[in-house]
């Protein structure tokens, strides 16, 4: 079939970029101390890898769509949408169908960072949650966007989410992140994760594992583009035929609901499956009362 139309490789990619200043600030410190280390990347270098990657996705198929969501310390927001530019900017005598992607991304990124900082003014900048970034929020934004596209049009782009994250996991976001992961699983949206931080991310390991995406922690960050184009540019259709990195191990540890600590072992509410690190009288989520262990001594006293 020579006239076979290769339309099954259309993809809608929502890219979650980590722009958390705490993470990038830390990375910068490391680059100045250990010069030219391949495992640390400055933010501008990072963008040098990511922007061509976005271009390459748009290049692969004219129906491909890219949405970029920035995920900052306090807020997250849409940075770039390739479908929007086609309609709104086409008439403004400017660059038309594909404007300078870099310029637009950088422009709105700057705006975003300023806003992000302003929102954070009220809060204590040294608070622990700031270091972890808004993964849960950006995941929800991505899923909302995908839902809108799926419901809105006759077109059925094959959506997927790519998280490019460096910030450490915030255990306090555990419930929100897990909920996003499950709703992604329900709507069959794979979450790919590319971890550029120092540590593995348990959240993203679980996200990719549950939704059938790819989890990868590149060894050599100065070749980030090659990783991105080899692994994460693969459309969902081709994934059936291509060797992709297999998950080595998934950190399934959960965070407790009471103190947001990551725990190996804990107490689970038998009604709603909430997780606690300590024993409680009553489940804080569903309100069911637990049998207390001190009932045991009472029963023994009755036997007397």
């Amino acid at each position: 079939m020579a006239s076979k139309l290769y339309t099954d490789d259309v993809s809608l990619v929502v890219v979650l970029l980590d722009v958390n200043p705490f993470f990038w600030g830390g990375a910068l410190k490391k680059t100045t101390t250990t010069t030219n280390s391949p495992s640390v990347l400055s933010f501008s270098n990072f963008l040098n890898h990511v922007l061509p990657f976005l271009n390459s996705i748009l290049l692969l198929n004219q129906l491909n769509q890219v949405v970029v969501i920035a995920c900052g310390a306090n807020t997250c927001g849409y940075i770039y949408d390739s479908s929007e530019t086609k309609t709104s900017e086409a008439g403004v005598g400017g660059s038309g169908r594909m404007p300078d992607l870099c310029e637009r991304v950088l422009g709105s990124l700057e705006e975003f960072v300023v806003n992000d900082q302003r929102t954070g003014w009220g809060a204590d900048p040294t608070a622990a949650n700031a270091a972890s970034g808004m993964l849960s929020g950006s995941l929800s934004l991505a899923l909302c966007y995908i839902q809108r596209v799926l419901r809105g049009g006759l077109l059925h782009p094959q959506p997927r989410i790519l998280c490019v994250q460096g910030s450490p996991d915030g255990p306090e976001q555990y419930v929100a992140v897990m909920n996003s992961i499950f709703s992604a699983q329900r709507s069959m949206v794979p979450i790919d994760s590319c971890v550029i931080g120092v540590q593995h991310s348990a959240f993203l390991q679980q996200a990719s594992y549950i939704t059938g995406g790819v989890y990868l922690k590149p060894q050599q960050l100065d070749g980030l583009f090659q990783y991105l184009s080899m692994v994460f540019a693969t459309d969902l259709h081709s994934r059936n035929f291509i060797q992709l990195p297999k998950p080595v191990g998934v950190d399934f540890r959960a965070s407790c609901f009471c103190h947001k600590k990551t725990i190996d072992m804990g107490y689970v509410c038998s009604v709603c499956l909430s997780i606690f690190c300590k024993q409680h009288k009553k489940c804080s989520t569903c309100g069911s009362e637990f049998n207390q262990p001190h009932l045991v001594p009472i029963s023994t006293s009755e036997q007397k």
Partner: protein, 459 residues
């Protein structure tokens, strides 16, 4: 989409068939690189992307390691295509292993694309110069109109008398020589005989617009040299055109002389619309042009349907177009015609005449499905199943008897010889029929020599 013989090639096959030097020259144009990359199978696209920033050749064995076991056939297809289009260049290294490398020109252009982003072939004109740009809907109707005239014109000999006078006037704007090229293959014009639609011609009428367009463009390109236009210039211009924005105006002055002469023909086909301002003139690409290199026939090119088929084989077509009426007449009996409605019936006789003309049932069914009226189009199936089944059955009726050249062998001396012969024929796959009692068998004609040799050995 009906798969017919004349459709077997698409734009990129044509590009792939170009000689290597021409192809390398084509890749100097970044738009062609982009269009070629997009036309590749998904795996091939990925390979091209992966090798983009790798300068040393990659061995074929390494690449095979990238795919899973089930993907190996797709991998081969992808590699073949890449080599065919000279995106990959094959080299044999010292260890006699084949290695692949990206075509340097192609590589350079795509690298530039990734770093600087896509640009447009030319800037659209500012809106204060182009006073009254047609809206997208206007453009759409323009395309349909123009296309219908063009299609009808191509089948001139057959349909001309049916086209209203206003359309005939438009026809004259089409250069006669071009028309002849297009009609080649679709019409059989024997001496002293009214031109008659050929099998291809009938199939052409039932194809969707994109397939029709491609057929015509192909003819247009292949005859380009007769008109003094370099084939390559034409191909690169057409590909470039597909990167323009639909509905934007572009100045004609930005084109070369050759392109300007081509664009008039394209306007006749409805690929672009030409407009004249006070000082300058410009062209507006339509959807047909921008879909050209893509040759997509999915929803993006979907037009409003008009046919309702009922389970009782009656067909109501809400159309005022004479062309539609004639197309329907190809395979149905038109019963009556109202100003905006054509009522017909799909009958055995009407279908038989269609089959005789070389149209097959799949083409008819897909035509009915693609042109289903919006009311029924959302139903699944859009055409009642009993109708589609019956159309297929009637086609099968015609194919009840299949002729095969064969030989009969009889008078075998013994049962053993007979059975050995039967086994031999069966092993070759040529045994058609056997009768053990009377010791007779029938074998396909092409195995006669083998059979003779075998029987001689038996003696």
């Amino acid at each position: 989409m009906p798969q017919v013989r004349i459709l077997a090639k698409n734009f990129m096959d044509m590009v792939a068939a170009l000689p290597a030097t021409k192809l390398d020259k084509l890749y100097e144009n970044p738009f062609i690189c982009e269009a070629v990359l997009r036309s590749l199978p998904p795996l091939a696209k990925k390979y091209a992307l992966q090798l983009l920033f790798i300068d040393s050749p990659i061995s074929a064995k390494t690449m095979e390691g990238w795919v899973l076991a089930d993907g190996i056939s797709k991998h081969r297809v992808a590699i073949d295509r890449l080599l065919q289009l000279r995106v990959f260049l094959e080299e044999i290294d010292r260890k006699k292993e084949s290695t692949y490398k990206l075509n340097p020109k192609f590589q350079g252009n795509i690298q530039k694309y990734l770093v600087y982003g896509g640009s447009l072939p030319r800037q659209p004109m500012p809106s204060n110069v182009t006073v009254r740009l047609p809206t997208l809907e206007d453009l759409e109707t323009y395309v349909l109109e123009q296309w219908e005239v063009a299609t009808a014109a191509i089948n001139q000999g057959f349909l001309l008398q049916l086209i209203s006078s206003s359309q005939v006037e438009k026809l004259t704007s089409f250069s006669a020589s071009m028309m002849k090229f297009f009609q080649r293959g679709l019409l059989s014009a024997r001496e002293n005989e009214a031109p008659k639609l050929t099998e291809n011609g009938f199939q052409f009428l039932l194809m969707d617009t994109n397939a029709q367009l491609w057929y015509i463009i192909r003819e247009y390109i292949s005859t380009a040299e007769d008109r003094g236009v370099e084939q390559m210039d034409l191909i690169s211009f057409l590909l470039e055109l597909s990167f323009h924005t639909t509905g934007e105006a572009y100045n004609l002055n930005t084109l070369t002389d050759i392109q300007r002469s081509v664009i008039k023909d394209l306007a006749n086909l409805g690929l672009v619309k030409l407009q004249q301002g006070r000082k300058e003139s410009w062209f507006i690409p339509t959807k047909l042009a921008t879909n050209l290199s893509v040759s997509l026939s999915d929803s993006s090119a979907r037009k409003q349907g008009f046919v309702v088929v009922e389970t009782n084989f009656r067909m109501y077509s809400y159309s005022t177009s004479k062309l539609h009426c004639e197309i329907l007449r190809l395979f149905s009996r038109i019963e009556y015609q109202l100003p905006n409605l054509i009522v017909g019936a799909i009958t055995k006789e009407s279908l038989y005449s269609a089959f005789e003309n070389g149209i097959n049932s799949d083409q008819i069914i897909s035509f009915l499905q693609e042109n289903a009226h919006p009311r029924v189009a959302e139903r699944i199936p859009a055409v009642p199943e009993n109708v589609t089944d019956q159309i297929r059955l009637w086609e099968n009726d015609r194919n009840r008897v299949e002729m095969t050249l064969a030989h009969v062998y009889e008078d075998f001396p013994s049962k053993e010889v007979f059975e050995a012969t039967c086994d031999f024929a069966r092993d070759m796959g040529g045994l058609l029929w056997e009768d053990t009692d009377k010791k007779r068998l029938v074998v396909r004609g092409e195995y006669h020599q083998d059979m003779k040799d075998f029987l001689r050995r038996q003696k």
